[in-house]
Assembly symmetry: none
Homo-oligomer: 199 residues x 4
């Protein structure tokens, strides 16, 4: 039941946080650019911190839902176990990339939040990691099947997380690359090759 003004504040905050940084953005500026009085901001959020965290949570949830809901039906089942696993992972992968590219501001905010020392969370609790919880399952399965290399899970998850960051960062900085198949396919190819068992 978010009021119109409250949403204006959240939208403006997202924009300014990404442009100038979270700490560097004054609450007064958010209020002003949202066409709202200073007091109004603190009427909806008791602190600046609460505003930031609320914004974070809403985006995080949005991302989680987007990935888990929309990916499932895109898997191409196959007789070949390897192909099925690869298809599953590829589907999630694309979904995640797609989300980042269609919500660059939100994606950048998540990055900023994760790196802000004031909010710094252990990597283990990060959105990316937790959102990609489904991966654990897929990877474990792949390892048992012998398709994926038997490496320690924390290492693998970190690998997934950072490879995702690598690709989205590159594509958001230079969106024209996102259009080129050599980049899109190459990105997944590297990701996949890093995971599979050595031939």
């Amino acid at each position: 039941m978010v009021t119109e003004k409250k949403q204006q504040i959240l939208d403006t905050a997202l924009l300014l946080f990404v442009e100038q940084g979270i700490q560097a953005t004054a609450t007064a500026k958010i209020a002003k650019q949202a066409n709202v009085a200073t007091g109004t901001l603190f009427h909806h959020f008791s602190n600046k911190q609460e505003l930031v965290v609320t914004l974070y949570r809403s985006i995080k949830d949005e991302l989680s839902q987007s990935i888990s809901q929309d990916s499932a039906d895109k898997v191409h089942p196959s007789d070949n176990q390897v192909d099925t696993l690869k298809s599953t992972i590829k589907s999630y992968w694309h979904q995640a990339i797609e989300w980042a590219m269609s919500h660059p501001l939100k994606w950048q905010f998540l990055q900023q939040f994760a790196n802000d020392p004031q909010f710094k969370i252990s990597q283990q609790q990060d959105v990316m990691t937790s959102s990609m919880a489904f991966l654990v399952e897929a990877v474990e399965q792949g390892q048992q099947q012998g398709v994926l290399a038997r490496l320690p899970m924390p290492l693998v998850l970190n690998y997934c997380h950072y490879h995702y960051l690598a690709v989205t960062t590159l594509f958001i900085e230079q969106p024209e690359l996102f259009q080129q198949p050599s980049y899109q396919d190459g990105a997944f190819q590297m990701f996949w090759q890093g995971l599979v068992t050595k031939p």
Copy 2:
């Protein structure tokens, strides 16, 4: 020819920046903890920004030198082209990891700096990328030999950069993992597999 006090300031700044964040660290606190008057800080650095950038440059240079100088002699030459290339890259890889693990504060500062929106540099000009300039050479060579996959260079460099971040972040957060061969070797294995030509 850095004065003693100037170095004290830089050392203290590094410590506090990593502990509390760059923006959140007051110049007055740096000066106080460095046993120096406020004015002294501004005698050596005309700005807080200049202090930060100076610190960044010095660490960046240190890292660059450490990697490029110390790695060269660790390569194991071989008759096999593939093995030579792998050995070269592995040597740089280990050197880079080693540096991060022995200078965790400096490494964390580089991370913070790279993510601080006030200093945000295009990722392309980042330390990691520029320091790893030597990689371009090695990768190009590997691609011509058919050892490494022929993927766009920006993608490959990004992959290298972020995989390095993934591993160092994990190891600095949980240093005990750094001791385990399964992690050390696994990290490089994933990295290498991601680069090579599909079998």
Copy 3:
């Protein structure tokens, strides 16, 4: 629609600026003596400079209005063109002197402002000059009638401006002289003689 606090700040600023000089007066002192928090001052004026300029403009306007409005009805019309012109100019002259004597603080502030190199305006745009715009008209008329000497207008205006300063400075420094007719009349006599055609 000036808030009460804003006016307190302006009043206090005027007092302190004249007592100690503009540059030498700290914003904190103004706020304190105005029984207002530091932040309040900067809530109403984004700068110290803006405070100073606002004060200047308000006083300048007050002076302009006082001279142009209140002088008109004091002119003694006469059949003699010379007498009418002299009466007009005398009226403005007295009005201007009167204003200075009844607002010594404001008058002194205008002086300080005009001489402060940080705000230094070309003399041509100064209050005195611009406020006395009506003079141009009167002088031109007098010159055409042959009553006033045909001298270059910039020279004449400067003469008026500085003679006004000469007299007000003297009277404000030694107010007892202002009471003596020999001074009051003498001052205007010199002023007028300087303007008229040589006999």
Copy 4:
């Protein structure tokens, strides 16, 4: 026995004081622009104030000497008392204007000094006034002869002082006017007319 460095400091100070104002000019900047160490400035002048006052005194003396020495021989004696007096005063007048026009920086510094509230001297002790001490004599003589109007001396001196300021200010701001006879002659004509007995 002024050292070379001391003179460099004085010269630079004069320049910067006029450009930026006395208060606004930092001693460190003076030293730097004079190619001298900070300490050196305080080696020659125990205070900033002493530097300022020293500069003031030297310029004041220079002006006094210039006027009193150089003017005497330019008087054109005549049988006519009126002409002699006028010639005397005109000679001083031109000398004073000449000095201002050939030392604009010094002239501007005197102005700034006289108006700086930190150094503010009663007008009576001002350079201009004291330098023009010779005027008192000439004016008194003129009043006794009936050539000059019998007005109170303080008023007359003030008139002289400010008319001088009026003219020099105008000419220094717009030096091209100084070349035009209509301005030069007009300036003195107004001055003289203001002083003489009403016809």
